[in-house]
Amino acid sequence: MSKNLRFKSSKLLDETYRISFKFNNKIYYGYKGDTLASALLANDVHLVGRSFKYHRPRGIMTAGSEEPNAIIQLHDNTSRTEPNVRATEIEIYEGLVASSQNCWPSVNFDIGGINNILSPVLPAGFYYKTFMWPKNFWEKYEYFIRKSAGLGKSPKEADPDIYEHKYIHCDVLIIGAGISGVIAAKMAAKNGLKTLLVDEKSFLGGSTTYDNSEFSKINNQIASSWLEKEVNEISKLENLEIKTRTSVAAFHGYNFLLARENLTDHLPINQRKNKIRHRLLKIRAKKVISATGAIERPLIFDNNDRPGILLSSAIKKYIDLYGVACGENIILFTNNDTAYETAISMTQRGIKVNAIIDNREQVDSKLSYEVEKNNIRIFKGYTVVDTYGYKRINGLSIMKLSKDGQKVIGEKIKLSCDSLGVSGGWTPSVHLFTQSGGKLKFREEDQVFIPSKYPSDQLCIGSCNGDFTIEEITANTILSIKKFLNIKNTNYKTLEIMTGINKSKRNIWLLPSDKILGKTKSFVDYQNDATAKDIKLALREGFRSIEHVKRYTTTGMGTDQGKLGNMHALGIISETAGTKMGEHGTTTFRPPYTPLTFGTIVGRNVGKFFDIIRRTPIHDWHVINNAKFENVGQWKRAWYYPKENENMHQAVQRESKAARDCAGILDASTLGKIDIQGTDASEFLNRVYTNAWSKLAIGKCRYGLMLNEDGMVYDDGVTTRLDENHYIMTTTTGGAANVLGKLEDYLQTEWPELDVYLSSVTDHYATISVCGPHSKKIVSKVIPNLDFSDEKFPHMSFKNAKIGEIKCRVMRISFTGEQSYEINIQSNYGKSVWEKCMEAGKNFDITPYGTETMHLLRAEKGFIIVGQDTDATMTPIDLQMDWIVSKKKYDFIGKRSLYRSDTIKEDRKQLVGLLTENPEEVLEEGAQIVTDIKKSPIEMLGHVTSSYYSPNLNKSIALGVVKGGKKMLGQKLIIPMENKNINVTVADPVFLDKEGKRLNAKL
């Protein structure tokens, strides 16, 4: 290292702990406690990235989470790789590898830099204006734009780290542990309140931690020493929980906040194993105190973005906290007193302050006198008009400001420097406050937005509330906390404060230049390369609302949400439009305050914990017997059971044939089951189903169709009358929870007078369905005591029975059209009864079949599947199921809607059967159905909803919905596919055994 930029005796760093790290393939050294930014600066590295649009060289600009430029890629090309990490936030550790992003092939030679030269032709909205025309060229442009754009790379492998979520409930949450947060925490905790104090930094105290100057004293002690004692004291308080490296991401209504606690990112990689990386804290606080501080404003002038240009407060922080000088010949440019504090810190360490350029004509404060005493030149009433140096600033020129601050006058003076500190005053960090719904007001004197209306039980204190001097901060904090927490006595009597700061400020949003605006590059948003010129252009083109200007120019749309420049954008808009600040709205800050990793958001809900998995009691048998599964809602259902090398089609064809030729067995346990009891149970069913229920005899089953109030089919299933006032309803697998909810809703809100009780019993029973010509013989062997004769046990009836000592219910119902029995038994016996059925069916070639075969078999019979053959636009009439709609019943859910002018239209889409001209051709589900392919555009008549090759009919069959389909029987239609048109004929949707002979095994 040629330059000596590192000082000893920094409070934060452990100088005995040296750490090596790699940045852009070069090895550097820093100390424990350094951020990547402070360590790079100590190595005289300012250039860390390229800007997004013009690929201009950019350097570290700040020392905190507001950083727009120094966003880097961490852990190149590993599963831990992470883009957009702020170098100013990441603490270095042994093994850190980082690199610049948004540049190719390297940060020093970046091909995209050509955009900087082309920039006169790349104004705001350029992409919208140019590449959207001609319209169909967008695809071609997009390829190139996407290639050269983008911030960083996402990892390609699964995240190896562990994350978790935690709920915290507290009386008081304090966000930010600067001086006001520390005072508030002490007051709250000492007053017996359960208090949580969080700060995004690794230490407590905020900027006062390194406020070491003689010009800032509390009770006659240097401010930093006074605060150190306070911090030590609160660390021992019982009621106070302190979380550092914890950044509040979101502040929602009802004082619900999300914070990310960073637990391992500062540790060497080899110490992170099996440790939780980030913890998402879900905080519910009775009261919230925001002490989120303020962010220093940059100044907007030509070429204000060169590497080496930093916020003046950042230069001070690097010196006083990290012991790092940002250069050896530094100029400060300011419109207020803050930069003088930086100048004093620099002279204390012997760093050369070449000059201070001050917008103000009058400068008089203890600080400025001290600076003048040190023979530092102060150019009063001057502004910077340009800067020089490509990859690092090497000089600048200044000119005198006119009286009104709108022009520059006089001679241009050139000055040399290797770093420039800028200060445009301070902007309160009201991001979280506004996220919570808080309203701001504009304070004219120093041109800041401050909190005005609280939407919940909360308070803003310190500089985020617009108090910028230490005496205002301490006095107002103590006063407002006393009131807010209703505290009688405090440990803080009056604090004696001494400060050298004078609050005067000369605010000019866009500093004038000797060049015309069109020739300048005065950056407002560094990360997104939005300039003052772009904002003025947006206004010229008619954009007024800040939200529109923001989107058009992309100001504030980067990963930093424009924490530095949003105020200037608002200022330039109001100046140009001649309106009051805030009149065009203020930008809305949205969560998260700083980016969160996906891991933090997801927590432990990854892999098999991503969602609940429901398995039937017979699941293990299916697994052993080679079933393939499909997801139906949260359920795993056996889909088909391939034998040897069978593919799905072959397995389904075999299973389907076996079910009709001999016997099939299906696990139907997932069907929803609702137990319905009460003296009004029959009346209730009458109201919720379209058909009549009061006359259903005990021991009988009936198929029911349930509508929404709008007349559209909602669910279906068989319901059995177990006793006078006792029914069991089955629902579709996916609809079970919603049906129960809907029935409860009606019972509680519309018909509270009905004596009906509902209970979900889906998981209580295993349901085994045995079908086929041999089904009766099989179930008779499993339940020998039950009379299975057609006379005693006809189709659509039910019997109570016993298998050994275990009670079960047997329903003779069929979804396949075959003779079929369903055994319902307590879940834990499900697998054993299934195995008994398999054993009993051995001689009859009993074949287990899955959902795919079930779908095929029911399609042969033209039975609908709600949700596949219907969507929320099909009435029972559209489904040609008029037979199930009672004409006699006065009312049922959806009845009135069945004769609305719209639902009685004849040309609604109606369910029909479809047969292909070539019986081998199987249609694609979802394919469009048309009649005239010459017309342009072709009229879409409907689409195919179910389609299979039927091994029992030896031809392709399909169901579909077609406009006016009911009247089209026998008509030819066309299914246009990508490379051919398929001819089909409209047919009866019942393809097999229309007479229902098979239900009694009469083949």
Binding site: G253, D891, K895
Partner: protein, 91 residues
Amino acid sequence: MFLINCPFCGEREQSEFKAGGEAHIERPKQPTELSDDEWAEFLFMRKNIKGVQFERWNHAHGCRKWFNIARDTSNDQIKAVYKMGEKPPVK
């Protein structure tokens, strides 16, 4: 995420509840007597106001009871919680 004071269980997180739309829309007792327009009024027409709105909520992951709330849609403040069948509080 707001807190809702279920009249049967007490204060719980919003995530335990399911919203059920505008309250006090009674299902007509004699739907067949209604014209298409009258039925459509019941079926489709819902208010979406800025200010205090009466809503149905269900404690779906709790007692499963339905009840009503008066919520200010501009700031999500819940002004009142009351049982089904009870009259809405006066604004």
